[in-house]
C-alpha cells in the first residue's frame, strides 16, 4: 500500500499534532483510538493558550476590555458551530460538557414536558450508553416507554423493526446514532427524520462519531436535535454541543439553575432567559469553547469532502488488509460505513490484543465500547476496535496488521 493519491496531505497534517511524534514503549506511536477521543492540533492548543495568556476574563457580565474580548470570542464560536451544522440560527446552539450532557439535557427538559407517561422513546440496538441510559432513566422517573429497534446482521437498522416499533403511534421520539461507534455504520438520517416526522415523532441524532467525518447539515436532515462532543472533533474536552430547532428550544424549561440562565430572580419566582442562555447556567467552559472554535476552523479549512474521502480510503484499506488475517473477524458490514473497525480474534481476548499491540506502540481500544447491549446482540463480550482520524496513515493500518499477526502467533 502506498500513500500516493491520498485525498489529504496527511504528512503535513501530522505535523500539526505534536503528540503523534511521541514514542510509546520505544516504538513510533500509532494512534488508532480517535473514536474514543481525538488528538489536538497545535492550532487548538494555541487558541487555548492565547485566551489564557492574553484575553481572559469571565464572559457576559463584564463591562471591561478582557471580558468583552473573551465574551466575543466565546459567542463567536456559537456562530462557527451554527455554520458547521448549517443551523437556522446561532440561538439554536447550546454549549454543554459533552454529547452525554446534551442528551441528558433533552431527556430532563424536553423529555419531562413534551413527553407524557405512556409516550414512547425509540432507540436502536447499536446505541452508545449515552443514548440509552438517559431514556431508561426517563422511563423509570417519568413513565415513558423505551423501545428498541433491531439491527440486521450486517449492522444496519432493521427497517421492519422500525416500522413495528412505530406502528401503534406511541413513539414520540426517535433517538438514534448517526454513526455507530462499534460497527462504523452510518444511519440514513434524512430518511429516518422523514419517517419520524411522518409518524408524529421528533428525531434526535447522536452525531458524536459522524460529525468527525462528514459534513452535517441539520436543516437538510431536518433533525430536531443533534448532539456531539468537542473532544472527538480535535477540540478540547469539557465542551459539547446541543443543536435543537428554535421552536423546540423555546418551549423547553431550563435544565440547571444559576447565573446567566435567568431573566430575573426573586424569591417567589424567577424568569428564564431566552435560548440558548437558558440552558447555560453558571460560568461556561470559556477556554474550551474557544478551543472548539479553533478545531472547527481547522477541520473546515481541510474540508469535509477531503476528510470524508480520506476516511473512505482508510476504511477500505483496513477492511481489505485486516480481513486477510487468519482467525480475525470484523463486526458489521454495513453498506455505508466509516472509519471504525471492531474485530475479534480466535483464541485471543480483546484485552490481550490491546495490551500486546500497545507494547508495539499501537493504541487500539478493547472492551464493550459503552455499548453493552450491542455486545449481547453481536454475541461477544468485548471487541478490539481501531478508529481513524484525519492524521491516520494507511501505513499505520499496515502496522496494525503486522501487530495482529504477531498476536495471532502468540496465541496460536
Amino acid at each position: 500500500m502506498s500513500t500516493t493519491l491520498l485525498p489529504l496531505d496527511v504528512h503535513a497534517i501530522r505535523r500539526d499534532f505534536p503528540i503523534l511524534s511521541q514514542k510509546v514503549h520505544g516504538k513510533p506511536f500509532v494512534f488508532l483510538d480517535s473514536g474514543a477521543s481525538a488528538q489536538k492540533p497545535k492550532q487548538v492548543i494555541e487558541a487555548m493558550r492565547f485566551v489564557m495568556e492574553e484575553q481572559y476574563a469571565n464572559v457576559h457580565r463584564g463591562l471591561h476590555y478582557m471580558s468583552e474580548k473573551a465574551s466575543d470570542a466565546y459567542e463567536n464560536v456559537r456562530d462557527k458551530v451554527a455554520e458547521l451544522l448549517n443551523a437556522g440560527s446561532r440561538e439554536e446552539i447550546v454549549f454543554t460538557r459533552n454529547a452525554t450532557e446534551s442528551i441528558n439535557l433533552v431527556a430532563y427538559t424536553w423529555g419531562r414536558t413534551a413527553l407524557k407517561p405512556g409516550d414512547a422513546v425509540a432507540v436502536s440496538e447499536m446505541e452508545h450508553h449515552a443514548n440509552l441510559v438517559p431514556w431508561q432513566m426517563l422511563r423509570d422517573a417519568h413513565g415513558t416507554e423505551l423501545r428498541i429497534i433491531k439491527i440486521t446482521d450486517s449492522g444496519e437498522l432493521d427497517w421492519d423493526s422500525l416500522e413495528q416499533v412505530f406502528a401503534d403511534g406511541k413513539v414520540k421520539l426517535l433517538a438514534l446514532t448517526h454513526m455507530s461507534n462499534v460497527l462504523g455504520t452510518y444511519t440514513p438520517v434524512e430518511r429516518l427524520a422523514k419517517f419520524a416526522h411522518e409518524h408524529g415523532a421528533k428525531i434526535l441524532l447522536d452525531g458524536s462519531q459522524a460529525i468527525v467525518h462528514r459534513a452535517v447539515d441539520v436543516q437538510a436532515i431536518d433533525a430536531d436535535f443533534y448532539v456531539f462532543s468537542g473532544h472527538k472533533l480535535y477540540g478540547p474536552t469539557g465542551i459539547g454541543v446541543l443543536y435543537a430547532k428554535a421552536e423546540i428550544l423555546d418551549s423547553m424549561p431550563p435544565f440547571m439553575g444559576g447565573g446567566d440562565m435567568i431573566a430575573s430572580v426573586s424569591y417567589q419566582k424567577s424568569t428564564w432567559a431566552k435560548p440558548p442562555h437558558r440552558f447555560e447556567a453558571g460560568t461556561p467552559a470559556i477556554i474550551e469553547t474557544i478551543g472548539l472554535g479553533a478545531a472547527i476552523d481547522y477541520v473546515r479549512a481541510i474540508g469535509f469532502e477531503n476528510i470524508a474521502a480520506h476516511e473512505q480510503h482508510l476504511t477500505e484499506h483496513a477492511l481489505s488488509t485486516l480481513s486477510g488475517i487468519e482467525g480475525l473477524r470484523i463486526l458489521g458490514a454495513a453498506q455505508d460505513r466509516g472509519g471504525v473497525i471492531s474485530f475479534v480474534m480466535k483464541d485471543a481476548h480483546a484485552h490481550d490484543i490491546a495490551t500486546l499491540l500497545d507494547r508495539q506502540g499501537i493504541a487500539v481500544r478493547a472492551g464493550h465500547h459503552c455499548a453493552e447491549p450491542l455486545m449481547g446482540r453481536l454475541g461477544v463480550t468485548s471487541t478490539a476496535r481501531a478508529t481513524f482520524g484525519l492524521y491516520t496513515l494507511p501505513e499505520e493500518i499496515d502496522a496494525l496488521a503486522t501487530g495482529l499477526e504477531r498476536v495471532r502467533k502468540i496465541f496460536a
Binding site: H351, D352, L356, G367, T381, S382, I410, F411
Partner: protein
C-alpha cells in the same frame, strides 16, 4: 522482552486449566467482576479443593488457574498470606520464591490497567471464603 507477560506458563494455564469448571458440590461460591471490561470470575471453595470459572482474557484465566493450583490444600490463614504476597508481586513486579509459578504474572506490574485481570480471581476467592465462614462452614484454618 515486551511480551514477557504472555510467556508459556501463562498461555498454558489459560488454555489447559486443571481447576476449571463448576463442581457438583461446594461449600461456597465467590464472585468478582470488572465492570470496565465485563470480565467475570467465580471461585468455588470446598475446604481443601478450589475450582474456578473464568470468563475473560488470558491473564484472568491464567491467574485463576495458577491461584487454584497454589491455594489448594492451604488453610484460610495461609491463603490470606499468599494473597498479600501475590498482590505485592503484581504491583511491584518483584518475584519471591514462595510464590512459585505465580511469579509468571510478575510482569503485569508493567500494565497497570490489566492489574485487575490478575487480582480478580483473588477477590472472588476472598469472597468465597467469607461466605463459607459466614454460613458456618468448617473452612477456618
Amino acid at each position: 522482552m515486551s511480551e514477557a507477560l504472555y510467556q508459556s506458563i501463562v498461555l498454558e494455564s489459560s488454555r489447559n486449566p486443571r481447576h476449571a469448571g463448576r463442581p457438583d458440590v461446594f461449600k461456597a461460591e465467590g464472585q468478582s467482576e470488572n465492570r470496565m471490561c465485563g470480565d467475570k470470575v467465580s471461585v468455588f471453595f470446598n475446604g481443601a479443593e478450589l475450582r474456578h470459572e473464568a470468563q475473560g482474557c488470558t491473564i484472568l484465566a491464567a491467574s485463576a488457574e495458577l491461584m487454584c493450583e497454589a491455594a489448594t490444600g492451604k488453610t484460610t490463614g495461609e491463603i490470606a498470606i499468599l494473597s498479600d504476597k501475590f498482590e505485592h508481586l503484581v504491583k511491584t513486579g518483584q518475584e519471591t520464591p514462595e510464590l512459585g509459578e505465580l511469579n509468571a504474572l510478575a510482569s503485569i506490574a508493567q500494565y497497570p490497567s490489566r492489574l485487575r485481570c490478575a487480582t480478580l480471581p483473588w477477590s472472588a476467592l476472598r469472597d468465597a471464603i467469607a461466605r463459607a465462614g459466614s454460613t458456618g462452614g468448617p473452612a477456618n484454618g
